[in-house]
């Protein structure tokens, strides 16, 4: 890297994952925050900035900070869906560079599986929702299905190619004892699983789990004193392009990811070929294919071919979603924080049987809403 990074990830942790019927979102975030601070060798009293995204309270940050007993001097509730936490990294770096704080705590928690909350909104159609919700599209899966249909139409992408992503990701999950789904699957299994929204099958879709996570970001100065080697934030970018799927400018192109990836690579002074391990938001198999194209790992329309032949599986040339991803490890609604946790652990060499050898540069990319938002983070070690 040709410059001195201003901030680093110094602590990461998950809470309990999967089914946590006895836990609240406050407990899950507290558990993850405590473990992430221990990982960093820091204390709650060191935290001077709080970042959180959720819709479980009128003001999640006020409730969580009070519950934790901290009084942050900087706070950020940016919620752009699953990519929020990669955006929080960008905001934390900006705040640290501006000298506003030294130690930021980023948290997420959800009990959606136990709540059975997914997709069961109230039936009031207001503001711009009134032009879409009355048609009954199951969200978000139906929106991603619309994108998949369009990608297939424009580029000839196949269901088999989508299935390649699910199969390779499951192989990584078999190597992660924390993953929820660890039985190997085949492309036939994916194609034979029931339709959810054509052309997406059940096994093209992420899990619905409970869980939480936390990431601690520190200034370069503070990072030098933490327990483990700092994982430097080399580049970051974010963008959003639309809210509802009918307003996505081009359903076969993830424009937000093009913008966030370009910014992140430019800031890092790196290119896609420099990435040793990639953690790519996988709400659905099509999400991955659109994102790989948008970030420049392959050309436009070439995502299906890029993932074929299990190229992203363990032992393949493009190690991706090495914890088993949202498809097989966990997916508590907004998955972005887990991308950062896994990227950090890979660079530290903490991943045991799923460790990517000699990983020095990692990319974590979040996608939120219905391909609405994106945020990209590039990480590296000394």
């Amino acid at each position: 890297m040709g410059f001195a990074p201003k901030a680093a990830i110094v602590g990461v942790a998950e809470s309990d994952l999967g089914r946590t019927p006895d836990k609240t979102v406050l407990q899950l975030q507290t558990q993850a925050a405590r473990a992430a601070l221990e990982d960093a060798g820091l204390r709650f009293s060191d935290v001077d900035a709080l970042f959180c995204a959720g819709n479980w309270a009128w003001s999640p940050n006020l409730m969580l900070a009070e519950y934790l007993g901290i009084r942050p001097k900087y706070t950020d509730t940016t919620n752009i869906g699953g990519s929020s936490f990669e955006a929080h990294i960008e905001h934390a770096v900006a705040g640290i560079e501006a000298g506003l704080f030294d130690v930021a705590l980023i948290t997420y928690g959800s009990t959606q599986r136990s709540d059975r909350s997914r997709g069961r909104g109230s039936f009031t159609f207001r503001l711009t929702d009134q032009y879409e919700l009355p048609f009954g599209l199951p969200t978000p899966v139906g929106a991603y299905a619309l994108a998949a249909t369009r990608h297939m139409f424009e580029y000839g992408t196949t269901s088999e190619q989508l299935a390649e992503v699910a199969v390779a990701t499951r192989k990584w999950a078999t190597l992660n004892e924390k993953a929820m789904m660890r039985d190997p699957i085949t492309i036939e299994d994916v194609l034979n699983s029931r339709w959810i929204a054509e052309p997406l099958h059940l096994l093209d879709c992420c899990l619905v789990t409970d869980g939480g996570g936390a990431v601690v970001v520190a200034s370069a100065e503070r990072a030098r004193d933490t327990r483990k080697a700092p994982i430097w934030i080399l580049g970051h970018g974010e963008a959003h392009t639309h809210n509802s799927i009918a307003n996505m400018p081009d359903l076969a192109t993830h424009q937000a990811a093009i913008a966030s990836g370009k910014a992140a690579f430019a800031r890092a002074g790196l290119t896609p070929s420099d990435i040793d391990v990639a953690e790519i938001y996988d709400s659905f198999t099509i999400t991955v294919i659109l994102t790989l194209e948008a970030l420049g790992f392959c050309g436009r329309g070439e995502g299906g071919a890029f993932v074929s032949g299990q190229r992203t599986a363990p032992g393949g040339p493009f190690p991706m979603n090495t914890n088993g991803g949202g498809l097989s490890y966990c997916h508590p609604g907004m998955y972005g924080i887990f991308l950062l946790i896994e990227a950090t652990r890979q660079l530290r060499g903490e991943c045991g049987p799923r460790q990517v050898r000699d990983a020095r540069i990692a990319l974590a990319h979040g996608t939120g809403g219905v391909l609405s938002s994106a945020a990209t983070v590039i990480l590296g070690k000394d």
């Binding site: 039936f123 879409e132 009355p134 048609f135 599209l137 139906g142 139409f153 959810i196 359903l251």
Partner: protein, 136 residues
Amino acid sequence: MSMQLSASMLQQDSDSRPYWEGLAQGELRIQHCSACSRYVFYPRSLCPHCFSDQLTWKVASGKGTIYSYTVAHQAFGMFAAETPFIIAIVELEEGVRMMTRIIDTPRERVQVGAAVQVTFETVGEQLTLPYFRLIE
């Protein structure tokens, strides 16, 4: 679930009222920007292309093509009992896109690029939605 779509679920506002009133009268109304000559959907108070407030209402032809579609085999709440159903994004002749359902059409004939025509369906108490069907 016994709940059904009804107009009482809509929170109409001063952007949307002409649109909903048009549907009730069998008209698909969309906005047109006098400043940049582009059509706008959904309705707004400023043109999202040029930020002018010179928006007027026009009656769309109701003709368009399927931009993308999906067949929902699982849906939520009151829509769950209706599966499978076909949802599409239709691009109108005027250039704007909107979400809709494709009805009265066999699944195998639904494809990207197919020509469609609006049809006004009363789907619940005092609620009319713009669905589309394939043009023969």
